[in-house]
Amino acid sequence: MHHAKPKHEFEPKIIAFVCTWCTYAGADLAGTSRMQYPANVRLVKFPCTGRIDPVFILKAFQQGADGVLVSGCHPGDCHYMAGNFHARRRFAAFRKLLEFIGVDLQRLQFSWVSAAEAGKWVEVVTELTERVRAMGPMREFKDLALEEQWSGSLTTPELQEAYEAI
């Protein structure tokens, strides 16, 4: 018989942006090895962390994520040679911006998890879940979500017209 797991008052939603070659594969390995970790995380797979636009992180918070994880290959191990370096630089700058607009950086984690590091994946997810659970829900962003216009797409005829006029 399993012991009943402790029920928590608040279960955070965590979204993880991962690259397919390292971290996604590492999470697969955690499964194949039947490791156990909290069920709070949802994965979005990218070819490379280099593809991850910081806007996705904002978007995730706006959509109700209480924590965001970004994880890819270790420096030097990028399947695309340097994508993770670009990601690292981009996110270093982006963290500052987030801090400026009032997001507690404890809610956002970057890590390197290789295809072989199932144990590390479990650790990272468990720690982040516990930390965010203790912090409680993230409210700051949800109200802003409605007004946001996705960059790049010109969804209304007015916008399209304005664009053509330039």
Binding site: K5, A25, A39, G64, Y80
Partner: protein
Amino acid sequence: MSRVGVFVCHCGENIARTVDVERVARAAEQLPGVAFATDYKYMCSDPGQGLLKRAIAEQRLSHVVVAACSPRMHERTFRKAVEQAGLNPFLCEMANIREHCSWVHEDREEATTKAIEIVGMLVERVKKNRVLPTITVPVTKKALVIGGGIAGIQAALDIADAGHQVVLVEREPSIGGHMAQLSETFPTLDCSQCIMTPKMVDVANHPNITLHTYSEIEQVDGYIGNFQVTIRKKARSVDEQKCTGCGVCLTKCPQNKIPNSFDCNLGTRSAIYVPFPQAVPNIPVIDREHCTRFKTGKCGVCQKVCGPGAVDFEQQDRLLVEPVGAIVVATGFNLYSIDEKPKGSEIKGYGEFGHGRIPDVIDGMTFERLASASGPTGGKILRPSDGKEPRQVVFIQCVGSRAREKGISYCSKVCCMYTAKHTMLFKHKVHDGQAYVFFMDARTPGKSYDEFWRRSIEEEEAVYIRGMVSRLYQKGDKVVVMGSDIAVGVQVEIEADLVVLATAIMPRQGADSLAQKLGISYDKYHFYSEAHAKLKPVECATAGIYLAGACQGPKDIPDTVSQASAAAAKVMTLFAKEQLEREPVVARVSEKNCVGCFSCRKVCPYGAVEEKEIWDRNGKLIKTVAYVNPGVCAGCGTCQATCPSKSVELDGYTDEQIVAMIEAL
């Protein structure tokens, strides 16, 4: 309107045990745009795929989500099935509810909720998937093999025998690698030269093999089926076409006291030299660092004595460009140096073993040269300090290997066997000699290997001492070995005439820089990484590049040859096709939006971004925009995340698709 079909797999019990699959299917049915949802015991099985195909036809499905195992496992399977049913394969996505859900959670409620959400995310994503064309590229049926050790030789011969052109590039003046240096080989004790040199000659004579020795890879561009390789042919100072290999120059060169590295510096060679008499090609090289002519401008004896006039002091490095379709990397290994701590390395040296300053403390390869009939002593075991025949020889295993505190945690795999071989060779040559071996444990898996090791103890009377050596020091003309015998629990001290260290097998120096040119990955020691430890042991994750031999990890000759033939078979499989299909995950630029800032070009690791000029009808240049060459793009998407005007999109990973997933949260 999309008509998405959702297929939830039980995977036998693997998913169904923790996830309520029926509930997942029912929940999926409620999602907007979902026209059909069902669950089935084994979706990947023949009937499972049949069910999928029928549903596509009967329900007129526009998109498919298969909720099952990892896409890394079966995405291909289901995309193929979807294609057979007449849909574009890229309109199918997999929701991973096994590795990322049922296998990592125990609570059925929690796991089911998570599975439903994962399916929801993928349903939203797939609705934004676009029809992608299959991209086909031609295949250049010519292979490049880098490294001419036994691995490279075997791979080159196999591919050439199959009727394809091979370019073999070797850094040293001759092919042969480490195997050419070995005396006799375990587990059969046949002479290495006898089995190696015929293969070397085959390479030289093969009509399909172009051999470039004393050459290195300068640059690698392109992708599977279509690489462009720039090869640097270093100046040999000898015209390969004119030289007949008569060898007169070697005997006349006045600079003839240079330590010969092929003989582990035991013997000497001249400044114009071939590394060993059986070298292929048998064409000398001038070692410009030691040649008097290059140092002082005087001399020129070799040129004077050369009948065919092949010596050319003016020769320059040449760069050749070869188009190839596949690459086999076979650059082999280096031995851990006992001399000193390798520079800039986390690996610590062996100060306690004298750092190479005790002349009669040598490594295993040096012992091979001593035991080799064609070696500097003609096969007599004579110790380096005074040329005397040693009576007591101590062999120490695992020097460097399996010593985490020294920086290497792996096992070098071949040392247990070659040390056993060394004790035998020693006993065969010095009948009244005694061999001692310090070892942690003997690792002898392999056909006839354990029997071989036992023979060294039972017939050749080698004494194996389980324990470590803490210190070596010179005392008179002896080397004192201080160690412990942990089986008996006593300290041991042996006065040895010669000590042989089985030093770790390490990747080549510079293995990392070659990897960066090739765009392949390597582990923390710089051994090259295979795409999958079990199921893709010879493929690199980078398509079209294959691995053979000790560059991928410590290996003996049988394993090296097997891997080389396997790599060759992979190349032949590739060459069996005229056209290659590749994943259409490539970046595409919106010419309308692009402002030509070329930020994308700065971050593209593949140089795939080109300039494209847009002209109006009157022949006026409107603007220059970025263009991504789909043949070169590998699909990382770094350009898209970088583009300030959001004008690049990575097919298969568009902003729309990603945002749809996030919004499904």
